[in-house]
Symmetry: C2
Subunit: 331 residues, 2 copies
DNA sequence: CTGTTAGCGCCTTCAC
DNA sequence: GTGAAGGCGCTAACAG
């Protein structure tokens, strides 16, 4: 049986209140007393019980990072993992710990959304529905939505300039004279997909180019799928001279296809990615891509959430981090 | 103020015990009753308080994944992230949630190791010291060590066949006739470093080759460092004909250096990696490497820990997952 | 199947 | 600077 605060109090001769203070607010306790308490605690292997503490304080100092279960696993996802890491850092800096769970953890047997877990607030990453957000809100659970934009009152959403990024990528291509530009789009959440696709279309429209549907493909965002898809496109008699890939994993798969087809890059085909994931500068030639400030996204989301937890009422807002073109060797 | 179990009990006319059961063990409650309880709960936006629940049950159903703070961030680490993912999956399957924290979360103001957080057990990943393990154990906190081997009684460590893998890689190279084989070793934890280096040395010894210290380099395991280091080696007049890299990130960096130097792979230099990370089949040519069963490592660690949490006493053991050579295009 | 009762271990007033 | 007492919200016996 683990020692409790009472055992320590008995051993050191002080009251449990003093023992409690010695750990929770050391400066409210006389130096000498504190030492005695610690000594007794050490002798008994006593450690404050975090649960009991959370119970009485009404706070856990934990934050939940929740992702849709069906979504490509976060930690393995080259886009989400840096965001997650940034959230982690920010939380640590502010004294919070991070919980990682899927939306499954948020369902009760009666189907209601609820927090079965011990957290003071939630970052809802990727796909997520308004219903869940509202359920959470109704239970006074602070929420911030990440990489998605949901239309709910007083909700803060943190995303990036999806549309602007796509436009940036496409204009870069059209400015270099490309006309036959294909898009290989990953089947992401609607928010991401449509914004990026709109950028593609609008850029084409700007140069008076109509959309050739043979050049528009949607795939599961894996390198393998991309390689396969790109191989087909590149073997068309009038193949595209440039391919806009809606993330870097797809771009890498496309790059493989081009390399295997013996094409020169960028002379024969230009390839542009999106996200500026780690992989983009690991491949050779290195990928031109649109940089998304993943660190900022994570940091902002965490800070916004913590502000809410600590009492602020958020306005309804969509925070978009800016994007930037990174020109490397594939365009 | 959030509704409590009592409010629900009052509203639906049952006792709080029944309300509690309706959520915690629905099958012990009559269908009709359950419905009424849920209805009242919904009306009040009631949700069981996870903290209070954990307090009285003496369990949180949470597991902590703890990493050394100075360690290269887990989620971004191509080796740890699949392990982490596997732990996550296994935990989810068994009804546990995962907490991610650094060793900093485990220190009290008095310097003692302790669990400030709400968890039933801990997976200590990567570098970790015996002292911390013992402190944790003394507090009845189940621990499993991952990717490390520590000499403590009744402690389960999960790692992989580091030495065997290195031997496998090296023999593959020597069997193909290589004699001048370099090693670019990442500065990992001693456990990993020494085992892999021993494999290198022993394989060289097998063919009667002495170790040429110009061909032995230790670096921070980034692609950039590796590229730089490999460039130097490859510009030696009597450059190595093969390079054993102690992980895939290093191998990728080395590959870049070789490609840029205009060398043909594997004819001019063979490159072999370690881990079989995602990246290994994303680069072109694809990397020959030693596959480490990261999924198994994560799964075993989680299962071992959960067994302990649920009452089993572990033997002192080091579980090594087997490795396997994956021959691709760089050898 | 449902109700009663007794804490879980701690923090936080409020006194002294 | 320290002590006494109350209660956080829930579950787990034990009855009925």
């Amino acid at each position: 049986m683990a020692a409790t605060i009472l055992d320590v109090a008995d051993l050191c001769g002080y009251s449990k209140a003093t023992v409690s203070r010695a750990f929770a607010s050391p400066d409210q306790v006389a130096e000498k007393t504190r030492q005695r308490v610690y000594e007794a605690a050490r002798a008994l292997n006593y450690t404050p019980d975090a649960i009991a503490r959370a119970m009485v304080r009404g706070r856990t100092d934990n934050i939940g990072f929740v992702i849709y279960e069906k979504q490509y696993p976060v930690v393995l996802n080259p886009f989400y993992s840096p965001i997650f890491e940034s959230v982690l850092q920010t939380c640590a800096r502010k004294g919070y710990s991070l919980f990682i769970s899927s939306d499954r953890d948020l369902r009760l047997p009666n189907g209601q959304t609820c927090v079965k877990k011990q957290m003071d607030g939630i970052i809802l990453a990727g796909q997520s529905d308004a219903q869940m957000v509202m359920d959470l809100r109704r239970q006074n659970m602070p929420v911030v939505v990440l990489n998605n934009a949901i239309d709910v009152d007083d909700l803060t959403c943190v995303t990036t300039d999806q549309y602007g990024g796509a436009l940036l990528a496409m204009r870069h291509l059209t400015e270099r004279g490309h006309r036959k530009i294909a898009i290989i789009a990953g089947a992401f959440s609607p928010h991401v997909c449509t914004s990026r696709y709109n950028g593609y279309c609008d850029a084409l429209r700007e140069i008076g180019q109509t959309i050739d549907l043979r050049f528009v493909q949607t795939i599961e965002p894996t390198a393998e799928q991309a390689t396969q898809c790109a191989s087909m496109m590149l073997s068309l008699p009038d193949r595209p001279t440039a391919i806009f890939c809606t993330n870097d994993t797809i771009a890498v798969g496309t790059l493989k296809a081009a390399l295997r087809a013996g094409l020169r890059i960028p002379q024969d085909v230009a390839i542009i990615g999106f996200d500026d994931s780690e992989i983009s500068h690991l491949v050779e030639p290195e990928l031109t891509t649109v940089r998304v400030d993943k660190a900022a996204m994570g940091c902002i989301a965490a800070e916004q959430l913590i502000a809410q937890i600590e009492g602020e009422t958020p306005p309804k807002q969509v925070i978009q981090t800016p994007v930037e073109l990174v020109i490397r060797q594939t365009t």
